[in-house]
């Protein structure tokens, strides 16, 4: 067996390029896949820890009148016999400038199965409860605290404000951005006096809210895991794509290595090696190569993840407010899984080769003929499977149409995958058909006729690479349009909402005075006061009946004046815009798209909203887009919000007259009211920050997209290289018949460029379909809002050019080699076969 194996491997000594290609494919496939999995695993781990911590596991009490909670109230509730626990929450800034959440708990009253109470430490309870107390922190928070891991235990890092933390205790189960300590220690650090942030209780430990309090149930709080699931699904889908495309390369390289060793295999068979031991030897070879490729791939995948993780963490932080550790945290099954996926893929890609080796015909007779027929069968099979995939896509689409909006994220991705698969499967039969027709049409042009006929013969070996190219191009186009469309929509929306050149953020008690002062200033055209407050959506009343809920939402108040109302985008209204705004001023509400999607609301429906000190039932007058906001929001006129819910002011936009001096206005305001430097912000500055966050959001998507295309190019390149020798031998007789070499080289490039062009042209409608699936299905399912479909002809042209460019580039090297080799030698080369 070792003799057989070493004979097989000796092939790679003469053709090191093939070995490189094979390992490259394996490496790329497993690197991209495992890199993405590493990011996912790390992020999931972070969410799991955040989830386990509190939001989703504890019920919360707030005062009905909205005033802050105090220790006194907590004691009163305890004395009434209620199983509640106090909690203090605040932010501390480390010396490095990182903001960490500090949570003070009372471990004695906190239900003991809560993650915060346990936090996986072995330290005794009395050390936690008594001075100098303890700080529980996750190992991945140490970097922010400026503490080395070796001497973390017992360290007392100093904060930016000069206070020192109680001695550290490592608690791996905590989220990376959270510190936990006893509530009394936290109160000292946060200087919170008698106030506490919340009063919590184990889920359903309280049957109803004590009088004077509002109870929010744990299950109605959103968890970052849910919100970010789509993001990770997105990443996984891209990773899977890269993996599939990488395996195309492997397939091409293996096919080539077998093709060139057919003679060797035949000889071995003739020399008495059984077919079975040949297959076993090939299997061993695959596993050997697979192990090398997969290990290299996983190593570089981890590296890739390390590079991308800060961007991912930033994206998730800005999009969903989910804290993700900046350090990789990989469970053991990640490594095993990565290896299994790579090896599995390799065996999948190699199965064709093994199958062919097993059925190796010792007499080479009629090989070409059998192959021609075999390919025809394969095309039929592809058409049928393509039709099947399309019916799956149609079925999923039909099913999705009857699903309530907001569900069907997985089905949406399934729909896109089925669509991609169907198109990829139909590509070779389609190309074959086109070539057949063209061959027929070009009867009178001998060279073109030959080129088309020859392309038909090349197709079987090229089709896998062309399929990979189609998938990569379509995905690229689809994701590109989605991102581009998102960008346009988002910027547009930002423009519509940020109408004032100057925005004021002051302590809420100052607004009344500022407002009075501004009212007298002639250069101020309009003051746009906003207010905000949290509330609970208690019930919805729709034509179908009323439904009780307990969803936390945000109340937001705007000033519906001349500056804002003409531009504010509305998606659905009952009659016309002006009557919607009139109703709005009179106390009707607008709801954002995410809330409307989640609760299936339409204009005319009524909502019962409760906030501390208020309970109102109001009519929806319109639905508006609210991009990037993960929460449900209810919009009201600022005065109405103040009157009904007693919401405090949160900001004020200043619309100035045309010739007013913005800088003078800013200076006057700061002087008069003694405002901090960050109290006044420019519209331009706000837009810049928003755009920056947004741009970062899509860095990863773009990077992976480009990588996928690069991998597809590599696949094409590998397949072309694989048949380069064969091609040269087919071109040589033509040259002998009097076709100049330059013309042959041009034809060769034109053949592949043309095939890539057709593939690229097919990728355009497919890409549009994918964009549509992303904006109309996946976005709605993931975020609750729909994006308008934008198309970018310029980008499509670039994609087409890329397709052709990639093909030409891939064809260039083999062509160059043909160009440089003397055809006379090629004629002899064939003679030797």
């Amino acid at each position: 067996m070792t003799r057989v194996l070493s004979t097989l491997l000796s092939h790679y000594r003469r053709h090191p390029g093939q070995l490189v290609m094979l390992l490259l494919g394996l490496w790329v496939a497993s690197a991209l896949w495992s890199g993405i999995q590493a990011i996912n695993a790390t992020a999931r781990d972070s969410y799991a820890r955040a989830d386990a911590l509190f939001d989703t596991q504890l019920d919360q009490l707030e005062r009905r009148d909205g005033a802050p909670l105090t220790r006194g109230e907590y004691y009163a509730l305890r004395q009434a016999g209620l199983p509640v626990s106090p909690m203090l929450e605040g932010e501390v800034v480390t010396q490095a400038g990182t903001r960490l959440t500090l949570i003070g708990i009372d471990p004695l009253t906190l239900s003991s199965d809560n993650a915060m109470a346990q936090a996986n430490t072995s330290a005794s309870l009395s050390d936690f409860l008594t001075p100098p107390w303890q700080t529980r922190a996750a190992p991945d928070a140490l970097a922010a605290l400026g503490v080395a891991r070796e001497n973390a235990s017992g360290a007392t890092p100093t904060l930016a404000d000069g206070n020192t933390l109680p001695p550290l205790v490592l608690a791996p189960a905590l989220p990376p951005d959270t510190l936990i300590m006893d509530i009394s220690a936290a109160a000292r650090l946060l200087e919170s006096g008698d106030e506490i942030t919340r009063i919590v209780a184990a889920p359903w430990a309280l049957a109803e809210a004590p009088s004077g309090f509002i109870l929010t149930r744990a299950t109605t709080l959103a968890s970052p895991g849910q919100l970010t699931e789509s993001f990770h699904l997105n990443l996984t889908a891209l990773g899977l794509l890269a993996w599939v495309v990488g395996l195309f390369i492997v397939q091409a390289a293996l096919g080539l290595a077998l093709e060139q060793r057919l003679g060797m295999l035949r000889t071995l068979r003739v020399l008495g090696v059984s077919g079975r031991s040949l297959v076993v030897a090939l299997c061993l070879e695959l596993i050997l190569l697979g192990l090398i490729g997969a290990l290299a791939g996983i190593a570089s995948g981890v590296w890739l993840a390390r590079v991308l993780l800060p961007d991912v963490a930033a994206t998730l932080g800005s999009l969903y407010g989910a804290g993700v550790g900046q350090e990789l945290n990989l469970p053991w099954h990640y490594w095993v899984g990565g290896l299994a996926v790579s090896l599995g893929g390799l065996l999948l890609a190699g199965s064709g080769v093994l199958w062919r080796a097993a059925r190796l015909n010792m007499l080479e007779l009629g090989q070409m003929q059998a192959w021609r027929g075999g390919y025809r069968r394969q095309l039929t099979l592809m058409s049928i499977s393509g039709a099947l995939a399309l019916s799956v896509a149609l079925a999923l689409y039909g099913w999705l149409r009857f699903q309530p909006p907001g569900d069907g994220l997985v089905a949406g991705f399934g729909l896109i995958a089925a669509l991609l698969l169907a198109s990829a499967l139909w590509l070779p039969p389609f190309l074959a058909l086109v070539l057949k027709v063209l061959t027929h049409l070009a009867q009178r042009r001998p060279l073109i006729h030959w080129a088309m006929a020859d392309m038909q013969l090349q197709l079987p070996r090229l089709s896998l690479a062309m399929m990979a190219l189609l998938i990569a191009l379509a995905t690229n186009l689809g994701v590109g349009s989605m991102v581009g469309g998102f960008r346009l929509t988002f910027l547009d929306w930002l423009d519509q909402r940020l109408v004032a050149p100057l925005y004021l953020n002051a302590p809420s008690e100052q607004y009344a005075d500022i407002d009075v002062w501004l009212a007298d200033r002639p250069e101020v055209f309009e003051r746009l006061l906003t207010r905000r407050s949290d509330a609970t959506l208690q019930a919805t009343i729709t034509p179908d009946g009323s439904r009780a809920l307990g969803t936390p939402i945000e109340l937001y108040g705007i000033t519906p004046g001349e500056s804002l109302t003409p531009h504010w985008p509305l998606l659905a209204i009952q009659q016309d815009r002006s009557s919607a705004w009139a109703a709005f001023s009179d106390g009707a509400i607008f709801v954002n798209e995410q809330l409307a999607t989640a609760e299936n609301l339409a204009p005319g429906d009524r909502l019962t909203l409760s906030a501390p000190g208020a309970n109102e039932t109001l009519t929806i007058a319109a639905i508006y887009p609210d991009y990037g906001n993960p929460r449900g929001q209810v919009l009201m006129a600022s005065p109405q919000l103040a009157a009904r819910f007693n919401a405090p002011p949160s900001s004020m936009g200043l619309v100035l007259n045309d010739n007013a001096n913005v800088d003078a206005m800013r200076a006057a305001l700061r002087e008069r009211f003694d405002l901090g430097s960050d109290a006044l912000s420019d519209q331009a500055e706000i837009k810049r920050i928003a755009t920056e966050i947004f741009e970062r959001t899509f860095t990863i998507t773009r990077a992976l997209n480009v990588l996928t295309l690069a991998v597809a190019a590599l696949a094409l390149f590998a397949s072309l290289l694989a048949q380069a020798r064969n091609r040269r031998q087919q071109l040589a007789p033509l040259w002998a018949l009097g076709v100049p070499r330059a013309q042959l080289a041009q034809l060769n490039l034109a053949q592949l460029g043309g095939a890539a062009l057709v593939t690229g042209l097919l990728a355009v409608p497919l890409g549009i379909a994918i964009t549509w699936g992303l904006v109309a299905i996946i976005n709605v399912a993931a975020f609750g809002w729909r994006l308008p479909l934008y198309l970018f002809p310029w980008e499509m042209a670039i994609t087409l050019a890329t397709a052709v460019g990639v093909a030409l580039l891939a064809a260039a090297l083999p062509t160059l080699r043909f160009w440089r080799a003397s055809p006379r030698a090629l004629l002899a080369e064939e003679a030797n076969q």
Partner: protein, 221 residues
């Protein structure tokens, strides 16, 4: 028609330069036929390749239809091959992507001299009737060689160069193919240069030359 004048050809090999042809001169008039014999490795194929402009001599002149092949640029040499020469190889070199009829008419079409009647006649004469829509691999060895001859004759070349055209065939088939080749050559009045090992092949031709260690000897058949 074809004239080689003091042609030398040396190949560079890892063991140093290898002289394949030394001071070879020969002349072939229009419509004449010539057999080239000699032991294996004596340089017969090399001479044929030089005559066809597939390879270039180190020294000496090769004139084909009053043109000096060696001084022509590659496209001009290709044009010369396409329009004046018919080539038949030992390994057929048929184009696998084209059907029998398209293979047969390929060079004629390239030379813009496609003539449906003539190719139909060739098909019939070559005994390939009914196989026009097949692909080369669906033919027997003898049929493939006949097709290769047909392809070379379809553009009505003025010179047919054949390198062991029957080397891959059994004796009976070889005899039949050769007979066919000669009668078609006579019909078209084209000159013929055949490389062969076989005296039977050489016998019916006008002349016979022998190559030995790169030098040309006149030899009786």
């Amino acid at each position: 028609m074809l004239e080689l004048h003091q042609v030398h050809k040396t190949y560079a090999t890892p063991q140093g330069p290898l002289k394949v042809l030394e001071d070879v001169s020969l002349r072939l008039a229009a419509g004449q036929s010539l057999a080239l014999m000699g032991e294996s490795g004596s340089g017969k194929s090399t001479l044929l390749h030089l005559a066809a402009g597939i390879d270039l001599p180190d020294q000496g002149a090769i004139t084909l239809e009053d043109q000096n092949v060696a001084s022509l640029a590659e496209p001009a040499r290709a044009k010369l091959r396409r329009e004046q020469l018919g080539l038949v190889f030992q390994q057929f070199h048929l184009v696998p992507s084209l059907t029998v009829i398209d293979n047969l008419r390929l060079q004629a079409r390239l030379a813009k001299r496609d003539d449906a009647d003539w190719s139909g006649y060739l098909i019939e004469r070559l005994g390939l009737t009914g196989m026009e829509k097949r692909y080369p691999e669906q033919l027997s060895g003898g049929q493939q060689q006949r097709l290769a001859i047909g392809r070379a004759l379809a553009p009505r070349p003025s010179l047919l160069l054949a390198d062991e055209p029957t080397g891959n065939l059994d004796e009976t088939t070889a005899g039949k193919v050769l007979e066919l080749l000669l009668s078609l050559v006579r019909e078209t009045h084209c000159a013929l240069l055949v490389v062969t090992h076989s005296p039977q092949v050489a016998a019916p031709l006008d002349r016979c030359l022998r190559l030995s260690h790169g030098r040309l000897l006149d030899a009786a058949p």
